[in-house]
């Protein structure tokens, strides 16, 4: 089993069985809050307050390439367009839609991806509003249209799901293996890749049978392409883009580059399923499966909800809570956001919501660094976390860059392992912001100087 250097093993705590029911849910308030922009450049609203919208109707888009339109996930009436709390604790414009009982549905026409032009296929992926469901919410059609001069050889389906607690991807791979394999085949067809790989961690061996079957089915349908299942050791952050290319095909993404530069496209398995549905059913990305878990949840569960459903609207019908909720996390415990309240909507990239108790979360204070070098040994990017923090504290940006500040993916492995409880990721985020501000200033100064000289 090939993998990446470093990595760590946070307790897995995956408490939902892969074959248990994925519960379809609706918000108790009968309202959804759909953010106008979910990944890519800012969208413009297409509907007004008072308009009736159908499930699947496009309600916001942008003319820019680097964007993904947003669709209504319910049949109802737009009541408001107002800023509302979203993941990240900021307020962004959201459509507030009241659900009615008409059940109007407005999907796209199904499209055969293997008998249409590449442009048509890409347009469909964009039109369906598909964005990376693994966490980054990156518009999918951008990844499928790699920069000029690159040649895609591999499509890697990311089924690592290396974050603790989360198990919605595993459930999807078990139930919808055929959809995922087909999404993989479609992506390979669009990008011209010769090999498709589904990569899972070895804690998900139970998926091997289903995935092998689905992949060999695709193999028999598309005889010129190769389909493979790869199993990598269970190690955080196996599902990071940089690590998964190394584990799946043994290639490193050059610093500051894209997977496309080494002939790879990486898509989350849930995204691939959404791509398959966009062609087969004409269904845009309007539903999201996610894990509801954590020590404060009575019964951890996987649910599928219309995008825009507020988590608070699922309490207590679908999420029964115990006493002692200390943190509400949108996403996984390693990279997710701690939210100030559960009143935030589920978005395209919400892979889980966790209610954690005091016993599970870290509340310890930062202490002095003793230089144990554990952060270096777990870093999947082979950078030197402790030395970056020391350089940043000494205000030495050049050194911080030399030690790898801008190569950090903020996976949190170093902060997880740190015995002195130093918030390394937070230091890096501040350092990165500082570097960007400094470079912007420099660029502005250079431009001003040039303008002066030009005169």
């Amino acid at each position: 089993m090939r993998s990446f250097p470093g990595g760590t093993h946070p307790p897995e705590r995956k408490m939902v069985a892969h074959d248990s029911l994925v519960q379809p849910v609706l918000p108790s308030s009968n309202m959804v809050w759909i953010p106008v922009t979910q990944g890519g450049r800012p969208n413009q609203p297409l509907v007004k307050v008072g308009d009736k919208v159908a499930r699947g109707q496009k309600i916001a888009e942008s003319s820019e390439f680097m964007s993904a339109p947003v669709h209504s996930s319910v049949s109802g009436t737009v009541k408001k367009l107002e800023p509302h709390l979203v993941t990240g604790n900021s307020d962004v414009p959201c459509f507030v839609i009241q659900i009615d009982k008409d059940e109007r549905e407005e999907f796209l026409e199904p499209l055969d991806p293997f008998h249409c032009t590449k442009e048509e296929a890409l347009a469909r992926v964009k039109e369906a509003g598909i964005a990376g469901m693994g966490g980054a919410s990156f518009p999918a059609h951008v990844k499928l249209n790699p920069p000029k001069g690159t040649k895609i050889e591999y499509v890697i389906a990311n089924g690592a799901e290396c974050e603790p607690y989360l198990c919605a991807d595993a459930a999807a791979m078990f139930r919808y293996a055929d959809d995922i394999a087909e999404g993989l085949a479609i992506t390979m067809h669009i990008t011209g890749a010769h090999t498709g790989i589904i990569l899972i961690e070895d804690n998900k061996h139970f998926l091997k049978g289903e995935l092998d079957r689905a992949l060999s089915k695709q193999g028999s349908l598309h005889s010129t392409q190769t389909f493979e299942l790869k199993i990598a050791p269970t190690k955080y952050p196996q599902g990071g883009e940089k690590n998964i290319t190394l584990a799946a095909v043994g290639r490193e993404i050059p610093a500051g580059g894209l997977p496309a530069h080494i002939g790879c496209v990486v898509q989350n398995v849930a995204t691939l399923r959404a791509i398959a549905e966009a062609f087969n059913l004409g269904k845009p990305l309007i539903d999201r499966s996610l894990t509801i878990s954590g020590g404060a949840v009575v019964k951890p569960i996987n649910i599928v909800a219309p995008i825009g459903t507020r988590v608070s609207d699922l309490i207590p019908q679908h999420i029964a809570l115990k006493d002692g909720v200390m943190k509400i996390i949108s996403g996984g415990p390693m990279m997710g956001f701690a939210m100030k309240s559960p009143e935030f909507p589920i978005q395209k990239n919400t892979s889980g919501v966790l209610f954690l108790t005091k016993d599970e979360v870290n509340t310890e204070e930062e202490t002095s660094c003793i230089g144990c070098a554990r952060c270096l040994s777990v870093c999947s990017c082979q950078i030197s976390p402790v030395l970056i923090v020391r350089s940043l504290k000494a205000n030495d940006m050049d050194k911080a860059l030399y030690y790898g500040l801008m190569d950090c993916v903020e996976c949190g492995a170093c902060a997880y392992i740190c015995p002195a409880r130093i918030k390394l990721v937070q230091h890096f985020k501040i350092g990165k912001a500082k570097f960007r501000a400094e470079s912007q200033k420099k660029a502005a100064r250079a431009a001003a100087l040039q303008a002066k000289e030009g005169k």
Binding site: K242, P254, I315, I329, N362, E366, Y416, I417
Partner: protein
């Protein structure tokens, strides 16, 4: 500035605006809510932390291993050596070990109290400094010197620089170097094992009496080319009263020899080393590089490699001193060069200086170059070595 921002981010606390987790649980009404809490609403809220939702940056889970756990593991690894040294030197050893630890802990507490800093005694760092210091001094060092050295180690070696994590030099070795420079004779007062009996040997005079009567030469003394030229192993063995070289080796390995309180038994030090490796507390690189370099170089100079390895404080220093987190490099290659540097200086001192042992000075000298060694970093992800451009042909 940066730490302030972080503190802010950590202490932000927000009550859920709408649905409160405490309300949704199907349990009965809480006593806190039944109480007429209007008089002191804030206090009751603080008592029950159920309604408090914390916000902080990711990651939200953290490994159970804290600084204390690492330090406890080091103490455990030192336990066999410590127990054995009490067996070797009886009360004299035990008293010095306890005295040194107590002095280290008390002086750290006092220093930080006086300077109104937080007392961090819970991290076990002072205990380790005290114990390490005790293990590298002679078993009959006058007690007041033990106190002086241990306090010097903690206060000057560590706290003057800002405490744990900020000291550039290994504190225990700073204490030892101070004593060696100030009181050279008592610091070289070696006694034979089991020679002290129940006598604590508290002061200089009593120590002199003991040393005079039972002073013993170490193999390292004979192995030093400066003294009488390098002797053959068998001759060394014979002059120390052994019948064969093999017998000398076993005695050295098992620790049937005098020296600093804790450095005698190579076997027990290696057990501690293995424990620290298995528990992943320390890295193998520095000790292995240091020992290899010293043994290799002294062998080239004609010293028996096994004697070189097993005499003096080489193994003890390499395992417990050169691996001190704070004062050694963090990068893998930095650790190797640190070890090589320590080994090199140890060998040079052993071969060419009037001092019989060089482990302490080698580590202290190498401590100064740690920031430079930390510049040797691993290849970062995504930085593939560029192929050398084909050389342009000269005319």
């Amino acid at each position: 500035m940066m730490s302030e921002e972080i503190k802010q981010a950590n202490t932000v606390e927000a009550k859920p605006a709408g649905v409160q987790p405490a309300e949704v649980k199907p349990a009965e009404v809480k006593p806190a809510e039944v109480k007429p809490a209007e008089t002191k609403p804030k206090k009751t809220q603080k008592k029950s932390d159920e309604n408090e939702i914390f916000i902080s940056p990711a990651p939200h889970v953290i490994s159970p291993i804290k600084t204390q756990n690492l330090m406890q593991n080091v103490l455990l690894a030192l336990l066999p050596v410590t127990v054995y040294s009490v067996y070797l030197y009886s009360m004299a050893g035990a008293v010095r070990i306890v005295l040194s630890i107590v002095t280290a802990v008390v002086s750290e507490i006092l220093f930080r109290r006086i300077l109104k800093r937080d007392v961090r005694i819970k991290d076990f760092s002072a205990v380790i400094t005290g114990l390490l210091f005790a293990l590298v001094i002679p078993p009959v060092l006058p007690l007041w010197m033990v106190i002086l050295g241990s306090a010097f180690a903690v206060i000057v070696g560590k706290e003057f620089f800002g405490g744990l994590g900020s000291n550039p030099f290994n504190p225990a070795l700073v204490g030892r170097a101070f004593l060696l420079a100030s009181f050279t004779k008592p610091m070289s007062g070696w006694v034979g094992i089991h020679s002290t009996g129940m006598n604590i040997v508290p002061w200089t005079k009593s120590a002199e009496a003991v040393v005079d009567s039972i002073g013993s030469a170490t193999p390292l003394f004979y192995a030093n080319p400066n003294t009488e030229g390098v002797m053959a192993t068998l001759d060394i063995a014979k002059s120390l009263g052994f019948d064969s070289s093999f017998e000398l080796y076993t005695h050295l390995f098992l620790g049937q020899r005098g020296g600093s309180i804790g450095e005698s038994s190579i076997a027990l030090i290696l057990i501690g080393f293995l424990y620290l490796l298995v528990k992943r507390v320390i890295d193998w690189r520095t000790p292995v590089a240091m020992i290899t370099t010293t043994v290799l170089l002294t062998t080239l100079a004609g010293v028996d490699p096994l004697i070189s390895l097993m005499s003096g404080g080489l193994v003890f220093g390499a395992v417990f001193m050169a691996t001190d987190y704070v004062t050694s490099p963090v990068t893998p290659m930095g650790k190797i060069f640190f070890g090589i540097g320590c080994g090199l200086i140890t060998a040079i001192i052993r071969l060419y200086s009037a001092l019989p042992e060089g482990v302490m000075f080698s580590i202290l000298v190498m401590n100064t170059v740690v920031p430079f060694l930390d510049r040797i970093i691993p290849r970062k992800y995504g930085f593939v070595k560029k192929k050398k451009p084909p050389k342009e042909k000269a005319k």
